[in-house]
Symmetry: C2
Subunit: 153 residues, 2 copies
Amino acid sequence: MSDTNTRVPSVLAHELPRPVPMDELAACPASEVFRRVGDKWSMLVVILLGGRAHRYNELHRAIEGISQRMLTRTLRGLEDDGLVWRHVHPTVPPGVEYGLTELGVSLLEPLSALADWAVRHAPEMAEARGAEAPGAETRAAEARRAEARRAEG
Amino acid sequence: MSDTNTRVPSVLAHELPRPVPMDELAACPASEVFRRVGDKWSMLVVILLGGRAHRYNELHRAIEGISQRMLTRTLRGLEDDGLVWRHVHPTVPPGVEYGLTELGVSLLEPLSALADWAVRHAPEMAEARGAEAPGAETRAAEARRAEARRAEG
DNA sequence: CAGCATCCGACATGATACTG
DNA sequence: CAGTATCATGTCGGATGCTG
């Protein structure tokens, strides 16, 4: 809550090719959402829960690589944002179920748009990373080498 | 490059409400994109460059809060991903210009969809964070208090 | 089963000073 | 102008052990 929101002046009042609510985006409600999307696990969980509700350990096994700590933290965060609900079945071995709220479900659509873009353009990005112009050195390559040297060497 | 890609098994083969290429999403080309979107500055830069090309210091002043280090790193990352181009004008005081590649421009669309969602649902998320059910204690509230205690002191 | 508490390393981010 | 180099720090994320 302290410095979570990026301080952004009203600089974004540009003109985008299409329908981007820049003026309001400048106010940075999006930044927080972007952060969540960028979370290592959050969107993975959202996507999983998009299919159906899951139990805690069900998620734990499903993602397989996430620690309990992170799973709990992720779920808490999503819950706090109102994207995920949580139901405790007061049975003897306690059973907790997680699922998407309406808000969470509504996120799936723009999220899928982004995921779709990623899938479509992944090759181009990979290609850009590997080699940009075999034979012709761009300043990009030039610059990258400088860093590469330092990084790899 | 070492552990950048999240290891995700073929668990995402669920069924989403709508058109989400889950099977391929599971392969995680999206994860990398998500990471970039979640970057504190990357999407801000992309959006700015979406308006028009910018000079280095122009961006630096525009964002105002980013350090040179981070601006450079951000631009390098975007450049490496093929989202941003970089042109050096070999004038006496060196002038460097940055702009969006076609790939970068294409990203603006799904990005705007997400931003649009953020703007639309920001109130709901804020409300969810503040108070969920005034008077009726949910287990969410119950759980949150536990953490809040520890966090707030 | 579904967590919570604690410790720790890795990386992201920022401040500062210096350079072609 | 457009960076690079170095240092300091905060957060992220994982491992481990314990609880109700």
